[in-house]
Protein backbone atom coordinates (compact mmCIF):
# COMPACT_ATOMS: atom_id res chain seq x y z
CA UNK A 1 0.00 0.00 0.00
CA UNK A 2 1.39 3.36 -0.99
CA UNK A 3 1.21 6.46 1.17
CA UNK A 4 -1.32 7.87 -1.27
CA UNK A 5 -3.67 4.98 -0.68
CA UNK A 6 -3.29 5.14 3.09
CA UNK A 7 -4.00 8.82 2.84
CA UNK A 8 -7.13 8.07 0.81
CA UNK A 9 -8.24 5.47 3.32
CA UNK A 10 -7.75 7.72 6.35
CA UNK A 11 -9.49 10.63 4.67
CA UNK A 12 -12.21 8.28 3.52
CA UNK A 13 -12.92 7.21 7.09
CA UNK A 14 -12.94 10.82 8.32
CA UNK A 15 -15.16 12.13 5.52
CA UNK A 16 -17.23 8.96 5.66
CA UNK A 17 -17.95 9.60 9.33
CA UNK A 18 -19.55 12.90 8.40
CA UNK A 19 -21.52 11.26 5.60
CA UNK A 20 -22.62 8.69 8.15
CA UNK A 21 -24.02 11.44 10.37
CA UNK A 22 -25.85 12.92 7.37
CA UNK A 23 -27.32 9.54 6.56
CA UNK A 24 -28.13 8.72 10.18
CA UNK A 25 -30.33 11.77 10.65
CA UNK A 26 -32.02 11.55 7.25
CA UNK A 27 -32.69 7.89 7.84
CA UNK A 28 -34.11 8.46 11.31
CA UNK A 29 -36.41 11.16 9.99
CA UNK A 30 -37.59 9.09 7.06
CA UNK A 31 -38.14 6.10 9.28
CA UNK A 32 -40.22 7.85 11.90
CA UNK A 33 -41.97 10.53 9.88
CA UNK A 34 -41.77 9.42 6.23
CA UNK A 35 -40.27 12.82 5.52
CA UNK A 36 -37.32 13.12 3.17
CA UNK A 37 -35.51 16.20 4.33
CA UNK A 38 -34.25 17.96 1.24
CA UNK A 39 -33.12 20.85 3.45
CA UNK A 40 -30.77 18.77 5.57
CA UNK A 41 -27.71 19.99 3.69
CA UNK A 42 -28.69 23.61 4.22
CA UNK A 43 -29.21 22.93 7.94
CA UNK A 44 -25.75 21.44 8.08
CA UNK A 45 -24.26 24.49 6.37
CA UNK A 46 -26.16 26.71 8.82
CA UNK A 47 -24.32 24.77 11.55
CA UNK A 48 -21.02 25.58 9.83
CA UNK A 49 -21.98 29.26 9.86
CA UNK A 50 -22.80 29.07 13.57
CA UNK A 51 -19.28 27.80 14.20
CA UNK A 52 -17.92 30.50 11.90
CA UNK A 53 -19.77 33.33 13.67
CA UNK A 54 -18.88 32.06 17.15
CA UNK A 55 -15.23 31.82 16.17
CA UNK A 56 -14.88 35.08 14.26
CA UNK A 57 -16.82 37.29 16.69
CA UNK A 58 -16.27 35.65 20.10
CA UNK A 59 -13.13 33.65 19.37
CA UNK A 60 -14.87 30.49 20.54
CA UNK A 61 -13.21 27.24 19.44
CA UNK A 62 -15.31 25.00 17.18
CA UNK A 63 -15.33 22.40 19.97
CA UNK A 64 -17.20 24.86 22.19
CA UNK A 65 -19.53 25.59 19.27
CA UNK A 66 -20.56 21.92 19.09
CA UNK A 67 -22.95 21.83 22.09
CA UNK A 68 -24.25 25.34 21.35
CA UNK A 69 -25.10 24.40 17.75
CA UNK A 70 -26.64 21.10 18.85
CA UNK A 71 -28.90 22.63 21.51
CA UNK A 72 -30.00 25.69 19.51
CA UNK A 73 -30.75 23.59 16.43
CA UNK A 74 -32.69 21.10 18.56
CA UNK A 75 -34.94 23.89 19.87
CA UNK A 76 -35.44 25.37 16.41
CA UNK A 77 -36.27 21.92 15.08
CA UNK A 78 -38.84 21.33 17.81
CA UNK A 79 -40.61 24.55 16.81
CA UNK A 80 -40.24 23.92 13.07
CA UNK A 81 -41.92 20.54 13.43
CA UNK A 82 -45.20 22.04 14.58
CA UNK A 83 -45.18 24.67 11.84
CA UNK A 84 -44.32 22.36 8.95
CA UNK A 85 -45.25 18.75 9.46
CA UNK A 86 -48.76 18.27 10.95
CA UNK A 87 -50.46 19.91 7.95
CA UNK A 88 -48.74 17.49 5.58
CA UNK A 89 -50.91 14.58 6.65
CA UNK A 90 -53.88 16.27 4.97
CA UNK A 91 -52.21 15.98 1.60
CA UNK A 92 -53.11 13.27 -0.92
CA UNK A 93 -49.55 11.99 -1.08
CA UNK A 94 -47.74 13.03 2.13
CA UNK A 95 -44.39 11.53 1.11
CA UNK A 96 -44.03 13.50 -2.11
CA UNK A 97 -45.56 16.56 -0.46
CA UNK A 98 -42.91 16.39 2.26
CA UNK A 99 -40.20 16.21 -0.38
CA UNK A 100 -41.60 19.32 -2.07
CA UNK A 101 -42.06 21.13 1.24
CA UNK A 102 -38.49 20.54 2.36
CA UNK A 103 -37.34 21.46 -1.16
CA UNK A 104 -38.93 24.87 -0.63
CA UNK A 105 -37.42 25.01 2.85
CA UNK A 106 -33.96 24.34 1.43
CA UNK A 107 -34.29 27.13 -1.16
CA UNK A 108 -35.50 29.54 1.52
CA UNK A 109 -32.67 28.59 3.89
CA UNK A 110 -30.01 28.98 1.22
CA UNK A 111 -31.51 32.39 0.38
CA UNK A 112 -31.42 33.47 4.04
CA UNK A 113 -27.78 32.35 4.35
CA UNK A 114 -27.02 34.25 1.16
CA UNK A 115 -28.67 37.41 2.49
CA UNK A 116 -26.81 37.28 5.80
CA UNK A 117 -23.38 36.03 4.75
CA UNK A 118 -23.24 36.89 1.00
CA UNK A 119 -22.04 34.53 -1.68
CA UNK A 120 -18.34 34.31 -0.71
CA UNK A 121 -17.19 31.00 0.65
CA UNK A 122 -15.99 31.09 4.22
CA UNK A 123 -13.60 29.04 6.25
CA UNK A 124 -12.56 28.89 9.88
CA UNK A 125 -8.82 29.31 10.31
CA UNK A 126 -8.80 27.84 13.76
CA UNK A 127 -5.83 25.54 14.19
CA UNK A 128 -5.16 22.91 16.79
CA UNK A 129 -1.73 22.43 18.30
CA UNK A 130 0.02 20.48 16.78
CA UNK A 131 -1.45 21.18 13.34
CA UNK A 132 -1.03 17.62 12.14
CA UNK A 133 -0.30 14.20 13.57
CA UNK A 134 1.64 11.53 11.67
CA UNK A 135 -0.19 8.26 11.11
CA UNK A 136 2.20 5.77 9.57
CA UNK A 137 3.66 7.43 6.48
CA UNK A 138 1.03 10.17 6.22
CA UNK A 139 0.32 13.36 8.15
CA UNK A 140 -3.32 13.96 9.07
CA UNK A 141 -4.48 17.35 10.27
CA UNK A 142 -5.50 17.40 13.93
CA UNK A 143 -8.76 19.17 13.08
CA UNK A 144 -9.76 16.19 10.96
CA UNK A 145 -8.83 13.72 13.69
CA UNK A 146 -10.82 15.72 16.22
CA UNK A 147 -13.76 15.66 13.85
CA UNK A 148 -13.38 11.90 13.51
CA UNK A 149 -13.33 11.48 17.29
CA UNK A 150 -16.47 13.60 17.69
CA UNK A 151 -18.18 11.65 14.92
CA UNK A 152 -17.33 8.39 16.65
CA UNK A 153 -18.66 9.65 19.98
CA UNK A 154 -21.89 10.98 18.44
CA UNK A 155 -22.47 7.72 16.54
CA UNK A 156 -21.81 5.64 19.64
CA UNK A 157 -24.18 7.77 21.72
CA UNK A 158 -26.82 7.52 19.02
CA UNK A 159 -26.44 3.75 18.81
CA UNK A 160 -26.70 3.46 22.60
CA UNK A 161 -29.70 5.77 22.60
CA UNK A 162 -31.52 3.90 19.84
CA UNK A 163 -30.93 0.42 21.23
CA UNK A 164 -30.68 0.84 25.00
CA UNK A 165 -33.05 3.62 26.06
CA UNK A 166 -36.83 3.72 26.01
CA UNK A 167 -37.26 6.81 23.79
CA UNK A 168 -34.72 5.35 21.36
CA UNK A 169 -36.57 2.07 21.22
CA UNK A 170 -39.79 4.01 20.68
CA UNK A 171 -38.20 5.72 17.68
CA UNK A 172 -37.20 2.40 16.17
CA UNK A 173 -40.61 0.97 16.90
CA UNK A 174 -42.27 3.94 15.22
CA UNK A 175 -40.15 3.20 12.16
CA UNK A 176 -41.45 -0.35 12.09
CA UNK A 177 -45.11 0.33 12.79
CA UNK A 178 -46.52 3.76 13.38
CA UNK A 179 -50.00 2.52 14.28
CA UNK A 180 -49.09 -0.22 16.72
CA UNK A 181 -46.87 2.02 18.80
CA UNK A 182 -49.80 4.34 19.51
CA UNK A 183 -51.79 1.41 20.90
CA UNK A 184 -49.00 0.81 23.40
CA UNK A 185 -49.49 4.35 24.61
CA UNK A 186 -46.76 6.36 22.95
CA UNK A 187 -47.63 9.96 22.16
CA UNK A 188 -46.73 9.85 18.48
CA UNK A 189 -46.94 13.62 18.02
CA UNK A 190 -44.34 14.27 20.71
CA UNK A 191 -42.16 11.43 19.50
CA UNK A 192 -42.25 12.79 15.94
CA UNK A 193 -41.40 16.30 17.13
CA UNK A 194 -38.53 14.80 19.11
CA UNK A 195 -37.24 12.90 16.06
CA UNK A 196 -37.46 16.04 13.93
CA UNK A 197 -35.65 18.13 16.54
CA UNK A 198 -33.04 15.41 17.05
CA UNK A 199 -32.12 15.40 13.36
CA UNK A 200 -31.83 19.21 13.50
CA UNK A 201 -29.46 18.85 16.44
CA UNK A 202 -27.33 16.29 14.63
CA UNK A 203 -27.31 18.59 11.60
CA UNK A 204 -25.89 21.38 13.77
CA UNK A 205 -23.10 19.12 15.01
CA UNK A 206 -22.39 17.84 11.50
CA UNK A 207 -22.13 21.42 10.28
CA UNK A 208 -19.51 22.38 12.85
CA UNK A 209 -17.52 19.27 11.95
CA UNK A 210 -17.78 20.00 8.24
CA UNK A 211 -16.31 23.44 8.91
CA UNK A 212 -13.36 21.61 10.51
CA UNK A 213 -12.87 18.95 7.84
CA UNK A 214 -13.59 20.71 4.54
CA UNK A 215 -11.65 23.78 3.49
CA UNK A 216 -14.59 26.09 2.79
CA UNK A 217 -18.35 26.38 2.68
CA UNK A 218 -20.83 28.80 1.10
CA UNK A 219 -24.59 29.41 1.15
CA UNK A 220 -25.12 26.97 -1.72
CA UNK A 221 -22.91 24.10 -0.55
CA UNK A 222 -25.94 22.59 1.19
CA UNK A 223 -27.46 20.86 -1.83
CA UNK A 224 -24.28 18.81 -2.30
CA UNK A 225 -24.52 17.44 1.24
CA UNK A 226 -28.22 16.72 0.88
CA UNK A 227 -27.52 14.67 -2.21
CA UNK A 228 -24.70 12.79 -0.50
CA UNK A 229 -27.08 12.15 2.40
CA UNK A 230 -29.67 10.76 -0.04
CA UNK A 231 -27.11 8.47 -1.61
CA UNK A 232 -26.08 7.22 1.82
CA UNK A 233 -29.61 6.48 3.02
CA UNK A 234 -30.44 4.68 -0.18
CA UNK A 235 -27.26 2.62 0.05
CA UNK A 236 -27.99 1.82 3.69
CA UNK A 237 -31.68 1.19 3.18
CA UNK A 238 -34.29 3.88 3.80
CA UNK A 239 -35.26 4.12 7.47
CA UNK A 240 -32.37 1.98 8.72
CA UNK A 241 -30.12 4.26 10.85
CA UNK A 242 -27.37 1.72 11.49
CA UNK A 243 -27.28 0.79 7.81
CA UNK A 244 -26.85 4.49 7.07
CA UNK A 245 -23.88 4.72 9.44
CA UNK A 246 -22.06 1.87 7.72
CA UNK A 247 -23.07 3.05 4.24
CA UNK A 248 -21.79 6.55 5.04
CA UNK A 249 -18.32 5.33 5.93
CA UNK A 250 -18.34 2.96 2.96
CA UNK A 251 -19.31 5.80 0.63
CA UNK A 252 -16.70 8.14 2.11
CA UNK A 253 -13.93 5.57 1.57
CA UNK A 254 -15.12 4.81 -1.98
CA UNK A 255 -15.21 8.51 -2.82
CA UNK A 256 -11.78 9.31 -1.39
CA UNK A 257 -10.17 6.22 -2.93
CA UNK A 258 -11.70 7.21 -6.26
CA UNK A 259 -10.00 10.61 -6.03
CA UNK A 260 -6.70 8.79 -5.59
CA UNK A 261 -7.09 6.80 -8.78
CA UNK A 262 -9.32 8.98 -10.95
CA UNK A 263 -9.71 12.62 -11.87
CA UNK A 264 -11.71 14.70 -9.39
CA UNK A 265 -14.76 15.01 -11.63
CA UNK A 266 -14.84 11.30 -12.43
CA UNK A 267 -14.65 10.51 -8.72
CA UNK A 268 -17.94 12.33 -8.27
CA UNK A 269 -19.51 10.26 -11.01
CA UNK A 270 -18.40 7.12 -9.14
CA UNK A 271 -20.54 8.15 -6.17
CA UNK A 272 -23.65 8.79 -8.24
CA UNK A 273 -23.00 5.66 -10.25
CA UNK A 274 -22.91 3.62 -7.04
CA UNK A 275 -26.33 5.00 -6.13
CA UNK A 276 -27.86 4.14 -9.49
CA UNK A 277 -26.40 0.65 -9.61
CA UNK A 278 -27.43 -0.09 -6.02
CA UNK A 279 -30.96 1.07 -6.52
CA UNK A 280 -31.38 -0.96 -9.68
CA UNK A 281 -29.75 -4.13 -8.40
CA UNK A 282 -30.76 -4.03 -4.75
CA UNK A 283 -33.50 -1.45 -4.13
CA UNK A 284 -33.60 -2.27 -0.42
CA UNK A 285 -30.05 -1.02 0.06
CA UNK A 286 -26.81 -2.83 0.68
CA UNK A 287 -27.77 -4.08 4.14
CA UNK A 288 -31.37 -3.64 3.51
CA UNK A 289 -34.63 -4.76 4.69
CA UNK A 290 -37.50 -2.75 3.39
CA UNK A 291 -39.29 -0.86 6.14
CA UNK A 292 -42.89 -1.85 6.63
CA UNK A 293 -45.35 0.80 5.59
Amino acid sequence: MTALMINGLVNGIIVGGLYALLGLSLSLLYGVLRVVNFAHGELVIAGSYVAYVLFSTFGLSPLAALPLAAISFFIVGWGAYFVLIPRLSKSDDPETASFLLMYGFSIAMAAVLLLIFEADSRSIDYSFDPISIPIGPVNVSTARLVALAVTAVVSAVMAWFLFRTLPGKALRAATMNREAIQIVGVNIERLSAFAFALTFGIAGVTGVLIALVFPAFGPFSGAEYSIIGFIVIVLGGLGNPMGALIAGIFYGIAEQMATVFLAQALAQIVGFGMLVVTILVRPTGLFGFRVLR
Binding site: R87, K90, T96, A108, A111, I227, V234, L266, L275, P283
Partner: protein, 323 residues
Protein backbone atom coordinates in the same frame (compact mmCIF):
# COMPACT_ATOMS: atom_id res chain seq x y z
CA UNK B 1 -82.25 1.40 -21.14
CA UNK B 2 -83.62 4.88 -20.80
CA UNK B 3 -81.08 5.78 -18.13
CA UNK B 4 -78.34 4.36 -20.29
CA UNK B 5 -79.07 6.61 -23.23
CA UNK B 6 -79.52 9.48 -20.86
CA UNK B 7 -76.09 9.04 -19.30
CA UNK B 8 -74.68 8.75 -22.79
CA UNK B 9 -76.35 11.98 -23.80
CA UNK B 10 -75.03 13.53 -20.65
CA UNK B 11 -71.53 12.45 -21.46
CA UNK B 12 -71.75 13.72 -25.02
CA UNK B 13 -73.00 17.01 -23.67
CA UNK B 14 -70.06 17.16 -21.25
CA UNK B 15 -67.63 16.29 -24.04
CA UNK B 16 -69.03 19.06 -26.19
CA UNK B 17 -68.49 21.63 -23.43
CA UNK B 18 -65.02 20.22 -22.79
CA UNK B 19 -63.87 20.59 -26.38
CA UNK B 20 -65.47 24.02 -26.72
CA UNK B 21 -63.67 25.21 -23.61
CA UNK B 22 -60.44 23.67 -24.87
CA UNK B 23 -60.82 25.36 -28.27
CA UNK B 24 -61.59 28.72 -26.64
CA UNK B 25 -58.58 28.36 -24.41
CA UNK B 26 -56.40 27.49 -27.41
CA UNK B 27 -57.62 30.47 -29.43
CA UNK B 28 -57.11 32.89 -26.53
CA UNK B 29 -53.60 31.63 -25.76
CA UNK B 30 -52.58 31.60 -29.44
CA UNK B 31 -53.93 35.05 -30.18
CA UNK B 32 -52.42 36.58 -27.07
CA UNK B 33 -48.92 35.26 -27.67
CA UNK B 34 -49.05 35.81 -31.43
CA UNK B 35 -49.86 39.48 -30.90
CA UNK B 36 -47.10 40.08 -28.32
CA UNK B 37 -44.44 41.18 -30.86
CA UNK B 38 -46.88 43.41 -32.73
CA UNK B 39 -47.99 45.35 -29.68
CA UNK B 40 -44.41 45.87 -28.56
CA UNK B 41 -44.85 43.88 -25.35
CA UNK B 42 -41.86 42.43 -23.52
CA UNK B 43 -40.72 39.60 -25.81
CA UNK B 44 -38.24 38.08 -23.34
CA UNK B 45 -40.82 37.88 -20.57
CA UNK B 46 -43.38 36.22 -22.84
CA UNK B 47 -40.81 33.89 -24.37
CA UNK B 48 -39.96 32.54 -20.93
CA UNK B 49 -43.61 32.41 -19.94
CA UNK B 50 -44.28 30.16 -22.93
CA UNK B 51 -41.26 28.09 -22.07
CA UNK B 52 -42.45 27.57 -18.49
CA UNK B 53 -45.94 26.72 -19.71
CA UNK B 54 -44.39 24.05 -21.92
CA UNK B 55 -42.09 22.74 -19.20
CA UNK B 56 -44.84 22.62 -16.57
CA UNK B 57 -47.27 21.00 -19.00
CA UNK B 58 -44.78 18.30 -19.92
CA UNK B 59 -43.79 17.77 -16.29
CA UNK B 60 -47.46 17.20 -15.62
CA UNK B 61 -47.46 14.21 -17.99
CA UNK B 62 -44.94 12.52 -15.75
CA UNK B 63 -45.97 13.77 -12.31
CA UNK B 64 -49.68 14.34 -12.76
CA UNK B 65 -50.68 11.54 -15.11
CA UNK B 66 -48.06 8.87 -14.39
CA UNK B 67 -47.23 9.62 -10.74
CA UNK B 68 -43.46 9.99 -11.17
CA UNK B 69 -41.74 13.09 -9.77
CA UNK B 70 -38.56 13.54 -11.82
CA UNK B 71 -36.52 15.93 -9.68
CA UNK B 72 -33.77 15.80 -12.28
CA UNK B 73 -36.04 17.13 -15.01
CA UNK B 74 -33.37 19.64 -16.03
CA UNK B 75 -31.36 16.76 -17.57
CA UNK B 76 -33.71 16.66 -20.58
CA UNK B 77 -33.61 20.42 -20.95
CA UNK B 78 -29.82 20.49 -20.80
CA UNK B 79 -29.37 17.65 -23.27
CA UNK B 80 -31.70 19.46 -25.68
CA UNK B 81 -29.74 22.68 -25.37
CA UNK B 82 -26.39 20.97 -25.96
CA UNK B 83 -27.66 18.83 -28.84
CA UNK B 84 -28.89 21.94 -30.63
CA UNK B 85 -25.73 23.91 -29.93
CA UNK B 86 -23.40 21.12 -31.07
CA UNK B 87 -25.40 20.36 -34.22
CA UNK B 88 -25.55 24.03 -35.19
CA UNK B 89 -22.08 25.11 -34.17
CA UNK B 90 -19.96 22.03 -34.85
CA UNK B 91 -21.83 20.31 -37.67
CA UNK B 92 -23.27 23.40 -39.32
CA UNK B 93 -26.90 22.30 -39.25
CA UNK B 94 -29.66 24.86 -39.53
CA UNK B 95 -31.46 25.57 -36.27
CA UNK B 96 -34.80 24.45 -37.64
CA UNK B 97 -33.30 21.02 -38.34
CA UNK B 98 -31.38 20.88 -35.07
CA UNK B 99 -34.25 21.59 -32.66
CA UNK B 100 -36.27 18.47 -33.55
CA UNK B 101 -33.06 16.46 -33.07
CA UNK B 102 -32.91 17.96 -29.56
CA UNK B 103 -36.30 16.41 -28.95
CA UNK B 104 -35.01 13.09 -30.26
CA UNK B 105 -32.00 13.36 -27.93
CA UNK B 106 -34.40 13.92 -25.03
CA UNK B 107 -36.35 10.80 -25.94
CA UNK B 108 -33.14 8.77 -26.24
CA UNK B 109 -32.05 9.99 -22.80
CA UNK B 110 -35.45 9.04 -21.41
CA UNK B 111 -34.94 5.53 -22.80
CA UNK B 112 -31.59 5.35 -21.00
CA UNK B 113 -33.34 6.41 -17.79
CA UNK B 114 -36.25 4.03 -18.39
CA UNK B 115 -35.01 1.32 -15.97
CA UNK B 116 -35.64 3.78 -13.11
CA UNK B 117 -39.37 3.61 -13.85
CA UNK B 118 -39.59 0.46 -11.79
CA UNK B 119 -38.83 2.59 -8.74
CA UNK B 120 -41.55 4.63 -7.16
CA UNK B 121 -42.14 7.63 -4.96
CA UNK B 122 -39.15 9.04 -3.18
CA UNK B 123 -36.68 6.49 -4.60
CA UNK B 124 -37.51 7.63 -8.11
CA UNK B 125 -37.15 11.30 -7.17
CA UNK B 126 -33.73 10.79 -5.57
CA UNK B 127 -32.35 8.68 -8.42
CA UNK B 128 -33.63 11.16 -10.96
CA UNK B 129 -31.79 13.90 -9.09
CA UNK B 130 -28.59 11.86 -9.15
CA UNK B 131 -28.96 11.08 -12.87
CA UNK B 132 -29.27 14.78 -13.70
CA UNK B 133 -26.08 15.41 -11.73
CA UNK B 134 -24.34 12.63 -13.65
CA UNK B 135 -25.45 14.10 -17.00
CA UNK B 136 -24.09 17.46 -15.98
CA UNK B 137 -20.78 15.98 -14.85
CA UNK B 138 -20.40 13.97 -18.05
CA UNK B 139 -21.08 16.96 -20.29
CA UNK B 140 -18.72 19.12 -18.23
CA UNK B 141 -15.99 16.54 -18.73
CA UNK B 142 -16.45 16.04 -22.47
CA UNK B 143 -13.61 17.40 -24.59
CA UNK B 144 -13.72 21.16 -24.91
CA UNK B 145 -13.84 21.19 -28.70
CA UNK B 146 -17.32 19.64 -28.43
CA UNK B 147 -18.92 21.46 -25.54
CA UNK B 148 -16.89 24.65 -25.37
CA UNK B 149 -15.76 23.94 -21.82
CA UNK B 150 -16.63 26.51 -19.18
CA UNK B 151 -17.16 29.23 -21.78
CA UNK B 152 -19.95 27.28 -23.38
CA UNK B 153 -20.95 27.33 -27.01
CA UNK B 154 -22.00 30.44 -28.88
CA UNK B 155 -24.35 29.92 -31.77
CA UNK B 156 -22.73 32.93 -33.38
CA UNK B 157 -24.58 35.10 -35.83
CA UNK B 158 -27.61 32.90 -35.92
CA UNK B 159 -29.61 34.73 -33.27
CA UNK B 160 -33.11 35.45 -34.47
CA UNK B 161 -35.06 36.20 -31.30
CA UNK B 162 -38.35 36.76 -33.09
CA UNK B 163 -38.18 33.46 -34.98
CA UNK B 164 -37.17 31.71 -31.77
CA UNK B 165 -40.20 33.32 -30.14
CA UNK B 166 -42.57 31.87 -32.72
CA UNK B 167 -40.86 28.49 -32.64
CA UNK B 168 -41.33 28.46 -28.86
CA UNK B 169 -44.99 29.25 -29.43
CA UNK B 170 -45.25 26.30 -31.79
CA UNK B 171 -43.63 24.01 -29.25
CA UNK B 172 -45.95 25.26 -26.52
CA UNK B 173 -49.07 24.71 -28.62
CA UNK B 174 -47.84 21.24 -29.57
CA UNK B 175 -47.28 20.40 -25.89
CA UNK B 176 -50.71 21.69 -24.83
CA UNK B 177 -52.40 19.89 -27.73
CA UNK B 178 -50.62 16.63 -26.86
CA UNK B 179 -51.69 16.76 -23.23
CA UNK B 180 -55.22 17.77 -24.19
CA UNK B 181 -55.45 14.83 -26.56
CA UNK B 182 -53.81 12.58 -23.99
CA UNK B 183 -56.19 13.51 -21.18
CA UNK B 184 -59.09 12.17 -23.24
CA UNK B 185 -57.29 9.32 -24.96
CA UNK B 186 -56.77 5.71 -24.01
CA UNK B 187 -53.14 6.53 -23.18
CA UNK B 188 -54.08 9.15 -20.58
CA UNK B 189 -56.68 6.93 -18.97
CA UNK B 190 -54.29 3.99 -18.93
CA UNK B 191 -51.56 6.13 -17.36
CA UNK B 192 -53.89 7.26 -14.59
CA UNK B 193 -55.07 3.71 -14.04
CA UNK B 194 -51.47 2.45 -13.80
CA UNK B 195 -50.63 5.30 -11.43
CA UNK B 196 -53.53 4.55 -9.09
CA UNK B 197 -53.39 0.76 -9.11
CA UNK B 198 -50.86 -1.02 -11.33
CA UNK B 199 -52.12 -4.52 -10.49
CA UNK B 200 -55.72 -3.73 -11.34
CA UNK B 201 -54.69 -1.98 -14.56
CA UNK B 202 -52.62 -4.99 -15.53
CA UNK B 203 -55.59 -7.27 -14.88
CA UNK B 204 -57.66 -5.17 -17.25
CA UNK B 205 -55.13 -5.79 -20.00
CA UNK B 206 -53.00 -2.65 -19.79
CA UNK B 207 -49.35 -3.24 -20.63
CA UNK B 208 -47.93 -1.39 -17.61
CA UNK B 209 -44.32 -1.12 -18.74
CA UNK B 210 -45.14 0.07 -22.23
CA UNK B 211 -47.73 2.61 -21.06
CA UNK B 212 -45.33 4.07 -18.49
CA UNK B 213 -42.58 4.26 -21.09
CA UNK B 214 -44.84 6.10 -23.52
CA UNK B 215 -45.75 8.68 -20.91
CA UNK B 216 -42.11 9.02 -19.89
CA UNK B 217 -40.87 9.58 -23.46
CA UNK B 218 -43.54 12.20 -24.04
CA UNK B 219 -42.56 13.95 -20.79
CA UNK B 220 -38.90 14.00 -21.89
CA UNK B 221 -39.53 15.18 -25.46
CA UNK B 222 -40.81 18.68 -24.66
CA UNK B 223 -38.20 19.90 -22.15
CA UNK B 224 -35.51 18.88 -24.65
CA UNK B 225 -37.24 20.98 -27.32
CA UNK B 226 -37.44 23.86 -24.81
CA UNK B 227 -33.71 23.60 -24.18
CA UNK B 228 -33.05 23.71 -27.92
CA UNK B 229 -35.27 26.71 -28.59
CA UNK B 230 -33.91 28.58 -25.59
CA UNK B 231 -30.38 27.96 -26.88
CA UNK B 232 -31.42 29.57 -30.14
CA UNK B 233 -33.07 32.48 -28.33
CA UNK B 234 -30.17 33.33 -26.00
CA UNK B 235 -27.56 32.24 -28.53
CA UNK B 236 -25.33 30.65 -25.89
CA UNK B 237 -25.22 27.30 -24.10
CA UNK B 238 -23.08 26.38 -21.11
CA UNK B 239 -23.30 23.70 -18.42
CA UNK B 240 -23.97 26.22 -15.65
CA UNK B 241 -27.24 27.46 -17.11
CA UNK B 242 -28.28 24.44 -19.17
CA UNK B 243 -28.14 22.11 -16.15
CA UNK B 244 -29.12 24.66 -13.53
CA UNK B 245 -31.30 22.97 -10.90
CA UNK B 246 -33.38 26.14 -10.83
CA UNK B 247 -34.92 24.92 -14.10
CA UNK B 248 -36.28 21.87 -12.30
CA UNK B 249 -37.29 23.99 -9.33
CA UNK B 250 -39.33 26.42 -11.38
CA UNK B 251 -40.92 23.69 -13.46
CA UNK B 252 -42.02 21.83 -10.34
CA UNK B 253 -43.29 24.95 -8.59
CA UNK B 254 -45.24 26.21 -11.58
CA UNK B 255 -46.84 22.85 -12.26
CA UNK B 256 -47.75 22.28 -8.61
CA UNK B 257 -49.04 25.85 -8.24
CA UNK B 258 -51.57 25.29 -11.00
CA UNK B 259 -52.48 21.77 -10.02
CA UNK B 260 -51.10 18.45 -11.25
CA UNK B 261 -53.26 16.07 -13.20
CA UNK B 262 -55.29 18.69 -15.07
CA UNK B 263 -54.47 20.17 -18.47
CA UNK B 264 -55.19 23.77 -17.51
CA UNK B 265 -53.43 23.55 -14.12
CA UNK B 266 -49.80 23.89 -15.24
CA UNK B 267 -50.79 26.56 -17.79
CA UNK B 268 -52.57 28.66 -15.17
CA UNK B 269 -49.78 28.02 -12.68
CA UNK B 270 -47.01 29.00 -15.09
CA UNK B 271 -48.79 32.21 -16.15
CA UNK B 272 -49.61 33.23 -12.57
CA UNK B 273 -46.18 32.41 -11.16
CA UNK B 274 -44.32 34.01 -14.10
CA UNK B 275 -46.10 37.26 -13.30
CA UNK B 276 -45.44 36.98 -9.58
CA UNK B 277 -41.82 36.11 -10.27
CA UNK B 278 -41.46 39.10 -12.61
CA UNK B 279 -43.06 41.57 -10.19
CA UNK B 280 -41.06 40.31 -7.20
CA UNK B 281 -37.87 40.25 -9.22
CA UNK B 282 -38.38 43.84 -10.32
CA UNK B 283 -39.13 45.18 -6.85
CA UNK B 284 -36.96 43.03 -4.60
CA UNK B 285 -34.20 41.34 -6.60
CA UNK B 286 -32.35 40.31 -3.43
CA UNK B 287 -35.10 38.36 -1.75
CA UNK B 288 -36.37 36.75 -4.94
CA UNK B 289 -34.91 33.35 -4.06
CA UNK B 290 -36.25 33.54 -0.52
CA UNK B 291 -39.74 34.32 -1.78
CA UNK B 292 -39.48 31.45 -4.26
CA UNK B 293 -38.67 29.05 -1.41
CA UNK B 294 -41.37 30.37 0.89
CA UNK B 295 -43.86 30.21 -2.00
CA UNK B 296 -43.15 26.50 -2.44
CA UNK B 297 -43.67 25.83 1.24
CA UNK B 298 -46.87 27.86 1.35
CA UNK B 299 -48.18 26.04 -1.73
CA UNK B 300 -47.56 22.61 -0.24
CA UNK B 301 -49.03 23.55 3.13
CA UNK B 302 -52.03 25.62 2.11
CA UNK B 303 -52.81 24.79 -1.51
CA UNK B 304 -51.55 21.22 -2.02
CA UNK B 305 -53.80 20.66 -5.02
CA UNK B 306 -52.88 23.89 -6.77
CA UNK B 307 -55.16 26.61 -8.12
CA UNK B 308 -57.13 24.56 -10.62
CA UNK B 309 -57.06 21.47 -8.40
CA UNK B 310 -58.61 23.40 -5.52
CA UNK B 311 -61.33 24.84 -7.74
CA UNK B 312 -62.16 21.35 -9.00
CA UNK B 313 -62.29 20.03 -5.46
CA UNK B 314 -64.77 22.70 -4.47
CA UNK B 315 -66.81 22.07 -7.65
CA UNK B 316 -66.36 18.37 -8.47
CA UNK B 317 -68.98 18.52 -11.24
CA UNK B 318 -66.80 20.86 -13.28
CA UNK B 319 -64.29 18.06 -13.63
CA UNK B 320 -66.15 16.83 -16.68
CA UNK B 321 -65.87 20.12 -18.53
CA UNK B 322 -62.59 21.66 -17.48
CA UNK B 323 -59.68 20.31 -19.46
Amino acid sequence: MLSHTRSQQDREHGDKIFWRLAATLGVIVTTYFALVPYFGLNIAFHFYMMMWITMATAFNISSGFSGYMPFGYVAFYGIGAFTTAILVKKLGWSVIAAVPMAGVAGVILSLLFAPTLRLSGIYFAIVSLALAAICRLIITNLPEEWTGGSFGLQLGSRAEPLNAFFLMMGVMLLAIASVLWMSRSRLGKALKAVRDDPEAASMMGVNIGWIRLKGWMLAAFFPALCGGVEAWYTNVVDTETAFNTLVTTKTVIYAVAGGLGTVTGPIVGAIAMSWIDELVWRRFPLVNLLILGVAVMALVLFLPRGIVGSVLRARPRWRRFIP
